[in-house]
Amino acid sequence: MKKRLFLILIVLCTAIASVWAQQRSISGTVKSKEDGLEMPGVSVYVKGTQNGTITDAEGKYQIRIAGNEKTLVFSFIGMATKEIEIGSATIINVELEPENLKVDEVVVTALGIQRDKKTLTYSSQQVSGEEMMKARDINFMGSLSGKTAGLEIRKSTSGAGGSTRTVLRGSKSVNSVSDPLYVIDGIPMVNNKGGQSGMWGGTDEGDGLSQINPDDIESISVLKGATAAVLYGSAGANGVIIINTKKGKEGKTSVTFNSANTFENIISTPNLQFSYGSVGGAAESWSTTKGDYASDYVKDFFETGYNLENSIAVSSGNNKQTTYFSYGNTSSGGVIPNNSYQKHNITFKQSAKLLNDKITLTSNVMLASETTHNRNTGGYYLNPLTGLYLFPRDRDFADYKTNYQYFDTDRNMYLQNWFTSADNQSNPYWLINKQPKEDLTKRVIASLNLEYQIAAHLKFQARGSYDYAIKSYEQKFYAGGNTVNISTNGRWAYKKYTDKQAYTDGIFTYDNRFGKISLTAVAGASYQESVFGDGVSVDNGTNALLYPNEFYFQNLPSNVQVQSIYGGKIIKEGLFGSVQLGYKDMLFLDLSGRNDWSSTLALTGNESYFYPSFGVSGIVSQMVQLPEFISFAKLRASNSTVNNEVPWGLIQVNNTINSSGGVDRNTRAPFTDAKPEKLVTWETGADVRFLNGRLGVDFTYYHITSTNQALSKTLSGGEQDDYYTSAYFNAGKITNDGVEIVVTANPVDAKNFKWNTNLNFSKNTNKVVELYPGDNSKYIDLGSSEGYYARVYSGGAIGDMYGIKFRRNETGQIILDETSGKPLKTSSDDLQYLGNLEPNFSLGWNNNFDYKRFSLGFLVNAKIGGKCFSQTESMLDGYGVSKRTADARDKGYVSINAIKGTTAVTQIDPQTYYSAVGGRNGIAEAYVYDRTNIRLSQVSLSYNFDVKELGLPIQNASFSLIGNNLLFLYKKAPFDPELSMSTDLNSQSLDNFNVPATRTYGFNLKITF
């Protein structure tokens, strides 16, 4: 072994010495292989140096090289880069091939291991950074929607920096959000979600994704099944999203400047009326006398938002080392006044080759700083939109806008000026001015990666990373705010905590070929230690501060606890191995296994658990003769098991010190017999490409069974054995069945005009087969919100929604109360099924047209089927401010098929009807909508400047016009069902005074020097 190494070294040294120094000139022509035409603007450079040039209009180039320089590199956007050994030639002519015909696509898989896509035994999809950022969605994960099959993305309505809910292949658990694992360059990333808003207010506290500089992203690989994820262990049970970041490239130093500037407007407000006012000073607008009242104040409240994203990236390198540096700056202003967001990102990535290139050392440091002011809120409480929409029409809003505060002579200070003290509304302008909220995140992710080519076929890789974030959330509520939530001296809500995660792994890779057999073997170990949410929190709520409007610890009353908070500490250790065998490059077998040790299962005897996976794939087109129009065909099948640790903090339970100075005794049973959750995935699929790859179809079917979930059970008085009031136990069975179809096509491929299109179809069927063994009447409420219950029974599905319906007789007539004449409700004790919140299927249709230097892209997203629910509409009806209620008053009645006593009723008084059906705790059935929506999600039109022609001293320049979420082609719901009040498991597709959906439009300029 050592001997061979030594020999290689000597040979290398001699070779280098013999060709030292001496300069000479090489020239040639670069043509396109497709059409034989000369290619101008092709970059030609000597590998590993900064010595380079560009072909002229005739495709000709000339370059001087030193005698020891051996390889020329030819590259052009959209073409496969070609490397040519120089040897002794003086003329080198080259033909370049378009890149998209390539079948041998390399994808990044688990732990950063690069593999030929054709060898994969499971489904994965890759989206380039360029494609991702084409339309500059400010929450970049949102732009993946429709570009990969099987991925459901919902954004919160909290604006820039807000969180995203991403689910691959359906919800697999009733006690966690089924978020996939995010991985940056092979290393798991912390993506902790902060608090979410609910119907009683609160704010989305963001997640970890927004801290990434989207311009650093080279590509994103989506490993959908657990099969793909087995090497990451349990964290990858819900799929893995791998973010590959850019690195320095060998060759010329390049500087890329990108500037994206978009503007943002709400698409629409709810349909409101402005013709009927209130009676006798009521908060509701139930007058039946028509008037003409001011209406502009609603739309005037919303502003035009902006998102300015500027980034600069410097890349340089030679064959010994590469460097990538970037700085990104994002500045946004939301559509709600005083909502703004600033972000700075710095990335520094350096890679060096040592020890005769046998060791590659890569270090990467990513710094992010985010500041959000007044992030949008949801729910009834302290939300400016409740007061804005519900305002009685006959009152003067303009006055409340200007004078949102008044000087109170009794207290010698300014207080809120609003016409009602109701809990669910405040002066909108008071809220946006006198309740400043600031969220800060500072984060550093530092990693070091060492690759050591031990021998020709054996490589060792060791990685370590440390991810550290400090987050703080602070809101100052001035005295005079709504007394249901704010003390008479104001309220201070402050929270600050750190998230940290250390990760390290070591992996051996052996790669060899024995005749017809190829072998890749991987063995490794990983260690991960995370401490989340460790910090301090205080909120005086309605306990009066000592002095008004002073927001710091000294001003807290003695009955308010300053709390140390803790999200948990988890240690995970893993040993894993995988073997891939290939036969004649057409039949592949994957076997892998992993053993995890998880600290959350300590003391249970189940902390060590093993799980295997296997898969096969065969390239049929190489095995048998297929018709000529089939250029490639592959079949694949795999099975994997992933065991998932239980959540933190279930085993050891202790008592808490309460604000009264006493101790609350723990009454939750320690989960000492916990077992890991288990996910078994079967997946089979086919990848077929026709007509030289111009049409491709990838089909996948999967079946995922999750069992042994850690379910929590509240024990009622009759079940409190051993004096425990709640307990966890392993049970439940949830299945997800689904189909994913990806069609890629290149229908037009002429010299000046190209059309690439891509269709992503996914359908997932979720079923809760069993929850509590032997008890089908038990259910789990995943979230409830006055009339809306996200509830699952065994036999149901995650996303099932329950609520109150109209009480009807056998013939379907609505029963009216015999005295009040109001529609009767079904019993509050017997909630009715209202529908499921997930779409039946999703479609994304992405297109790209290239005409000469123009490029036009658009993406259409469709979510078909499913239901959604609007508490906003219910409230608007209850307050008589929806357009509906005015139309009904114009007409004089609401049509109804009802019965009162024994008398059939066909018309009902609008106020009687809407005040019973709408409002809080109305009849939910009336506010359930079809969630089907089809939208033009993204449009971009870009022009690539002919920098040569223009004589600009730059390499590249492009300008694009971009738009996001531009218009709905079809939508029945009065709000955008893809936006959520919360990105948790509850409150999905629920509208409770959410900020309306917005469209963004603007331009992007990219210049590379």
Binding site: K569, Q652, S660, G718, S827
Partner: protein
Amino acid sequence: MKKILYLFFAAFLMNSCTNGFEEANVNPYEISDESLTQDFNHIGSFYPSLLSNIFGHQIEENLVAESYCDYMAPPSPFAGGVNNTTYYITWNTYWDRIYNNLMAPASQVIDIAEEGGYDVFVAWAKLIRILGMSRLTTYHGPVIYTTYGQTNSSYDSEETLYNAFFADLDEIQAVFAANEDYAGMKKFDASYSGDITNWEKLVNSMRLKLAIRISKVAPALAKAQGEKAIADPAGLIVSNDDNFNISLYGSDLYLSIICFQWNDTRMSAGMESFLVGLKDPRISKYFQPATNASLYADHPAYPYKGIRNGAYLVAKDDHTAFSMINSSFESITERPYMTASEVYFDLAEAALRGWEGAGDAQTNYEAGVRASFAQWGASGVDAYLADDTSKPIDYNDPVYSGTINDFTSRSTVTVKWNDADSNELKLEKIITQKWIAGFTNPNEPWADFRRTGYPKLPTVYKNDSNSDWGIIPANEWIKRMPFVNSERTSNPAGVAAAVATMKGGDLISTRLWWDTGNSNF
């Protein structure tokens, strides 16, 4: 090469599964039983939390007992104006508070105390369980008490339950009596600073309270227990100094939060009718004047206005100018559970029922009123007790036109005792005064109202009861709370067995055991 591999894995394996796994599960900001043993906090430190969960909050007390006994009423048309207060059950959560925050932890604490031989703490926790459970049973009827925590736990019929309460009070009193010098409770006892003789008085007063509660349905048992309470050498709570108050432990009184911060509760119309009508000086101690003079134009000398319970309400703001509770409630630090006045009124009723040792009914009645005046710092008790003309007034809701929410007082009771009155009228006076004196502690007054029909409170204006939870006739009142949904779904057989011991279905119209519906004597 192999060696490196081997070493690598060996090093890893040796390291794994050992380092810090157990500690990782420990929340560093929680206190363990082990740490609590320092200064002997491992038993005593739980008592403040147990005691503070005896009372309920808005949806457990304010919108249940406090509304049904007509102390306070909401201005807010909660849940579209159809809710508990209009007899459509919307909130029913007191059960969970009592079991989850009192029974479960108290029972655990009893186990720890027994193990350590802390007999007094065992007795104390058992007494606290009775303090809570004796309230909960007035909501539902049968509850799980004697077999609580056992694998085959079952509901006790009310008869079994009260017998169990009395037996347990015997046991508790025996321990207290044998340990009167014990000083271990001092640090944890905010009510009596660890003075066990005070707790003995509470035990006797509780026994008397429960005896009075069952006096109609089980007169012999009630008499025996009542007389036992009266005869016990430790005595009863007959001085305001001995009142059993539970500390708020730094928190605000729930009622104060609901009234001042949320604007969700106001003086009830029933309180206005009685306090204004009887010219009761305590009115200014309980309430604040309404903020708009036009509201009390019908009795400007008493500038107070209440809201009818079960009212027809359009918008919350319509009634928020009505009388709030007195602002002094914002700064109180404890609330009464058992007062001398209540004990006197119980003794007055006991006297009417001929229980030995109860003394004279009039003396007890007047002592009860005096104790209440003293407790609330009100003056003019002599004139009050001598008033035989003032009567409860009729009520008008000035916000809504016509007769909406209005009522004519059913009661013509006066304050002055008249020995010539019938026992029935005497009882009406006693219970009416017990009701007024019990303000902020609505549990027993609601039970008294159901048991005796006094005071003669108005019905609800808006009755939304229907077959879902039981129908309350127009001239009747709610009789109980249904069993909670969690029990109905998780323990249907247990609930069915409990219902079988009741006088009707699991409905709000079914009378509890001690609510016989028969005459009072």
